[in-house]
């Protein structure tokens, strides 16, 4: 674990893997809620880091955190949500080809995976979901699409994600869902908040 000061009010904590980020994020939330962190405005997990923004004395806090023992995350930790998906994406056949399976088998591979929302970004409510075994990590498309429909289930590298609204995007589209990913009038506004576990089921089955 490495702690990096980011200006006068922020601290970036770097670890080695997405699993370590998840464990560190859970530990930071636990300690924040117990009042052990002091004031923190934003706590932002990402690919290999967690950012603490709006803190006093980032260097001092970083020195304290560097001495923590962070317990690994229990597999069942965090709320679990189920999202029904139609496997009708335009890149389904290409992804199945990369995986060496029939297109009909993609739903099973995705359905057998328990995903976890590692972090959000790109757009409000867009979660970067980890969990697919490494042999199922497809590359991004060579040419991004100018418009990806809202609700598209997409894969790229180690991540899966669902587009909350129509936007440009270069991920491989394998399916679609009617789930509402983002609703500012709902609490929480994002269906996929960091730490949430996600299962994709095949719609209509």
């Amino acid at each position: 674990m490495r702690t990096l000061v980011a200006g006068g009010q922020a601290l970036l904590i770097e670890v080695g893997s997405a699993a370590e980020v998840a464990a560190l994020h859970a530990e930071l939330l636990r300690r924040r809620d117990a009042g052990e962190l002091g004031p923190v405005r934003d706590l932002v997990p990402a690919a290999r880091t967690v950012l603490l923004d709006g803190v006093r004395d980032p260097a001092g806090l970083g020195a304290r955190i560097a001495r923590w023992e962070v317990p690994p995350l229990a597999p069942s930790q965090g709320p679990l949500i189920t999202v029904p998906v139609r496997y009708d994406g335009p890149d389904l056949a290409e992804v199945a080809g990369l995986w060496g399976v029939a297109p009909e088998a993609v739903a099973g591979i995705v359905g057998d995976t328990e995903f976890r929302v590692a972090f959000c970004g790109f757009a409000p409510g867009f979660g970067y979901l980890t969990g697919l075994p490494e042999r199922f990590h497809p590359p991004r498309r060579a040419t991004p699409r100018t418009a990806v429909p809202a609700g598209s289930l997409a894969l790229a590298g180690e991540y899966a994600g669902v587009y909350p609204r129509s936007s440009p995007g270069g991920w491989q589209l394998i399916g679609s869902t009617d789930a509402v990913l983002w609703d500012p009038d709902r609490d929480p506004a994002a269906l996929f908040a960091p730490g949430v576990r996600v299962r994709f089921t095949e719609a209509g089955r």
Partner: protein, 288 residues
């Protein structure tokens, strides 16, 4: 009803308040008024709550018609103000009779103006803020002609007389104090040392997301490879592959994949950045 009708929306006019901090983990930018001091002054002149929503104009002002009598204040970039065709005060509370037009003219220096109304703009809040977020599309849309902006009830405090208004600094040079950033070690020591001597210019590609620079000596990477996406703070100075620094402003993305060489403390320096026109010289100085 009390409200303001948009007659001329200007080049880019948005509703802004103090933004929506605290939702970065859900992918929501902070947003909010770019020149925080000018925005705060506009509300103070009117006895508004410090987080009352106001308009942020860009370069060429705005024209609004009052549906009922209101009191307004124009701050930020200095400009001509007219009410019903007659010159009116900039940087002060100004009465606007029913049916009268408020003309906020082109900025004489600086870039962004603030138009507050007593009672604040009463557009629906999203996640506790009425700010327009240009990156993620949250909040009210960019102003267009014919839009009606509702005005809230006035607070208990009276409108105040202005006692000398701060003007944006001389626009010839923007000095940005820089604190160490998390990825300074991604750049060669020679190019980091050169950063303090380099003179950049504000790029016309700048917007509410970031102040882009051009024409300076590009920073040189000491290490190759991609940085995994990580959290970004307001004022972060991100360096894309072309080596020219980008200063993250209020609508910046919550995570990014280019190394951050340093961070500009929020407040006066970022307020000045919000007023720097394309072509203005930019220099980075070590923050104490």
């Amino acid at each position: 009803m009390t409200g303001l009708l948009v007659v001329r929306p200007g080049a880019l006019t948005t509703v802004q308040d103090r933004g929506r901090p605290g939702f970065a983990h859900l992918g929501v930018p902070r947003s909010g008024a770019l020149d925080t001091a000018a925005y705060a002054l506009a509300n103070r002149l009117l006895g508004n709550a410090p987080d009352a929503a106001a308009l942020e104009t860009t370069l060429d002002g705005v024209t609004l018609r009052a549906l009922a009598p209101v009191t307004v204040a124009v701050t930020g970039a200095p400009c001509a103000v007219r009410v019903a065709g007659r010159p009116a005060a900039w940087g002060a509370a100004v009465r606007l009779p029913a049916g009268a037009e408020l003309e906020v003219g082109r900025a004489e220096s600086g870039l962004r103006g603030y138009v507050a109304v007593r009672g604040g703009l009463d557009v629906p809040p999203v996640l506790g803020s009425r700010s327009t977020d240009l990156l993620s599309g949250l909040g009210p849309p960019v102003l267009s002609a014919g839009t009606l902006l509702p005005v809230g009830p006035p607070g208990p405090d009276p409108a105040l007389a202005a006692d000398g208004c701060p003007l944006p600094g001389p626009p010839s040079e923007l000095l940005l104090p820089l604190r160490p950033g998390p990825r300074a070690d991604w750049f060669t020591e020679a190019s980091l040392a050169g950063l303090w001597r380099s003179v950049f210019r504000v790029s016309p590609m700048s917007n509410r997301i970031g102040l882009r620079t051009e024409a300076g000596t590009p920073l040189v990477r000491a290490r190759e490879g991609e940085l995994p996406s990580e959290g970004m703070v307001l004022g972060a100075v991100q360096v894309p592959p072309d080596g020219l620094p980008v200063v993250f402003l209020a609508d910046h993305p919550v995570t990014g994949g280019y190394p951050v060489v340093g961070v500009i403390p929020p407040g006066r320096a970022l307020d000045a950045a919000a007023q720097a026109r394309p072509g203005v010289a930019v220099r980075f100085v070590a923050a104490r």
